[in-house]
């Protein structure tokens, strides 16, 4: 039954190509929108999770704010070494507290090869907190910090660009024209939406940065590693950090923080690039579009049943049962939905790929990204049952106009 009525349905759809196309278009549009939105959302979620993981689920980042000091040009950061010491002594539930200084776009050279990279100024425990140790050579030691040694660890990108296959260990490079000895090569971390290419960085002792590179005393960031990474513990820790730092910075009630605390989930959300609400809005639009498409199929087919009474009557006279008519009309609607759905998947796939590539978004697939568009296709297919039932119930004698002439 399905085969013969499917054949009849295809004959009609091919004959009415324009109508088929016009009805399939909104289905394709809604499926494309839903699929692309879900694929981008999944990709962004994957990226956000990766960003959160890479930053460390148990790590709280405190970013320095800036302030203007009377008599000085420019701004200075609000975090200082004393904040680190205060947090270390007062904060309960913290495994480690480390301050860092960060400078972007610093010129680094190895002879004639040079580039600009991000410089991190840290103490040895930073490697464990950020899980960013040495892949080759050694990480910084306490004596390096104490002596403000001109030693450096370079990221994988730096090693590749400045050494081009040569062994960088022990080599001398210059950072902002100050010579440093390469003590090690950092583990490979790859790119992160929150931090960019994390292999395009060099790590020096925090004291060396201050004494030999930039004479900067304030800190750009403090990272706190929690003993317990549960959301509840992190929330308590965040609250304690805020209280301690506000007290130390003598901030009055109602005065805003002069620092920014970021947890892993916030870092994840920021690294998504598109907020959840935009995703829901797009999905809502796709759903609305699917409803309109389904309604269009229902209405157009209901009208078509009236216009095709003669055809239905003839088919019944030629031996079609009411079931045959129901199957045929429903199949016509279902084929339009499936055609639209498949086209929508293809369009959505390419659109999502293109958006991911050109707009710094991400592409990902999971069962939900497939299931929701499939559900929308099923919805528009099922709507076709209504006019199909109308057609099947049509009295063949009436359909052929028999009662009019009697």
């Amino acid at each position: 039954m399905a085969l013969k009525n499917g054949k009849a349905a295809i004959q009609v759809l091919l004959a009415l190509r324009t109508r088929t196309l016009l009805l399939a278009l909104p289905v394709a549009g809604s499926i494309a929108l839903a699929f692309a939105t879900l694929a981008i959302d999944r990709g962004l979620s994957n990226r956000a999770e990766a960003a959160a993981r890479s930053f460390g689920q148990d790590v709280i980042s405190i970013r320095s704010g800036s302030r203007i000091i009377a008599g000085q040009s420019g701004t200075v950061g609000t975090l200082v070494e004393e904040d680190v010491l205060a947090l270390r002594s007062q904060l309960r539930g913290a495994r480690a507290v480390e301050g860092t200084r960060i400078e972007d776009n610093v010129p680094v050279s190895n002879g004639s090869r040079n580039g600009v990279y991000r410089v991190f100024a840290v103490r040895p425990p930073w490697a464990e907190v950020r899980q960013f140790g040495a892949a080759r050579g050694e990480f910084l030691s306490d004596s390096d910090v104490q002596s403000s040694a001109r030693v450096v660890l370079i990221g994988q990108t730096v090693a590749r660009e400045l050494f081009a296959g040569q062994d960088p260990l022990g080599a001398e490079i210059t950072i902002n024209q100050v010579p440093f000895r390469v003590k090690g090569v950092l583990v490979e971390k790859g790119a992160s939406p929150a931090e960019g290419d994390r292999d395009a960085r060099v790590v020096v002792p925090i004291t060396t940065f201050r004494d030999r590179l930039y004479r900067r005393f304030y800190l750009d960031q403090i990272v706190v590693q929690a003993e317990d990474p549960s959301p509840e513990s992190l929330a308590v820790l965040e609250s304690d950090i805020r209280r301690i730092l506000r007290e130390r910075h003598a901030l009055a009630v109602g005065e805003p923080d002069d620092f920014t605390i970021r947890l892993a989930d916030l870092i994840a959300e920021q690294s998504r690039g598109i907020s959840r609400s935009v995703v829901y809005l797009l999905l809502g639009l796709a759903g609305l579009c699917a409803l309109v498409a389904a309604a269009a199929i229902g209405v157009v087919f209901a009208q078509a049943v009236r216009a095709r009474r003669g055809e239905i009557g003839v088919r019944r006279a030629m031996g079609a049962t009411a079931g045959d008519i129901l199957w045929q009309i429903w199949t016509e609607g279902a084929v339009i939905s499936v055609l639209g759905g498949l086209s929508g998947f293809a369009i959505g796939w390419f659109a999502a790929r293109w958006l991911a590539a050109s707009r710094n978004l991400a592409f990902g697939l999971d069962s939900v990204a497939i299931a929701i568009p499939v559900a929308l296709v099923l919805l528009s297919s099922l709507v076709g049952l209504v006019p199909a039932r109308l057609a099947a119930r049509l009295d063949p004698a009436v359909a052929l106009g028999g009662t009019d002439s009697r």
């Binding site: 004959a15 009415l16 055809e311 031996g319 049962t321 028999g402 002439s405």
Partner: protein, 230 residues
């Protein structure tokens, strides 16, 4: 005896909800190979009777025996099979599907047939028989009215129907085309088919071997057996 309809009654409800009797205790017998015309004024029940005899409609009461079997109470699927295999319909407005070619239209009944056979040769034979050679791939809109009606007759015969029910088959044709179609129907009778022809036109009715006239849902005259004669 191919058709034996006995005391058939059929009524409809009009838009005001009143019951309108269309066929009243109508009885009709038609032998195999007969060419019977059915005429009468508009609304006398000709098309309703044709629908009942063609198993497109069921009588409210009475019996309808086709080739020895009481078919009016058969389930719909069985009646559909009967229409498909034994009854050929020809309509005034041809009712060809405009999106199918001539061949596609002629083959339409095969779509609903339980026995799937290769009927290409049969289609070629019918095209030749009805003067439609070389038109198999044309669409109905490209044909004249007479040609379209001949396609419709070929469609009615393609699966070997032995009862042809023709409802005003010449109503939309010019006189030459009408004569052509009547010649075709007469030839079918010569081949042993049974033809029941509904027409308003007395001249056309005279082409049949028996003329039955309906009036007010009853058989008024002709060789048919009316209520009293059944």
């Amino acid at each position: 005896m191919l058709i034996e309809a006995v005391e058939i009654e059929k009524a409809y409800r009009d838009r005001q909800g009143n019951t309108v009797a269309v066929l009243q205790k109508l009885s009709l017998r038609i032998d195999r190979g007969e060419f019977v015309s059915l005429s009468g004024p508009s609304g006398c029940g000709k098309s309703t009777l044709l629908n009942v005899l063609g198993c497109l409609d069921r009588p409210d009461s009475g019996s309808y025996v086709l080739d020895g079997q009481e078919v009016s109470r058969w389930p719909e699927r069985k009646r559909a099979e009967l229409r498909n295999s034994r009854i050929g319909f020809v309509f005034q407005s041809f009712h060809l599907l405009p999106f199918l070619t001539v061949e596609g239209n002629i083959k339409l009944p095969l779509l609903y047939s339980r026995t799937q056979v290769n009927i290409d040769q049969r289609v070629r034979q019918l095209l030749g028989e009805f003067g439609l050679q070389g038109m198999g791939h044309r669409y109905p809109g490209e044909l004249s009215g007479g040609q379209q009606q001949r396609v419709a007759i070929a469609r009615a015969l393609v699966l070997g129907a032995d009862l042809i029910l023709a409802d005003e088959p010449t109503g939309n044709l010019d006189s030459d085309s009408a004569q052509g179609v009547l010649d075709v129907l007469a030839r079918l009778v010569e081949q042993g088919k049974t033809v029941l022809l509904v027409t308003h036109d007395p001249n056309i009715a005279r082409r049949a071997s028996r003329q039955v006239r309906l009036q007010g849902g009853r058989i008024e005259s002709g060789n048919g057996a009316s209520r009293g004669e059944a």
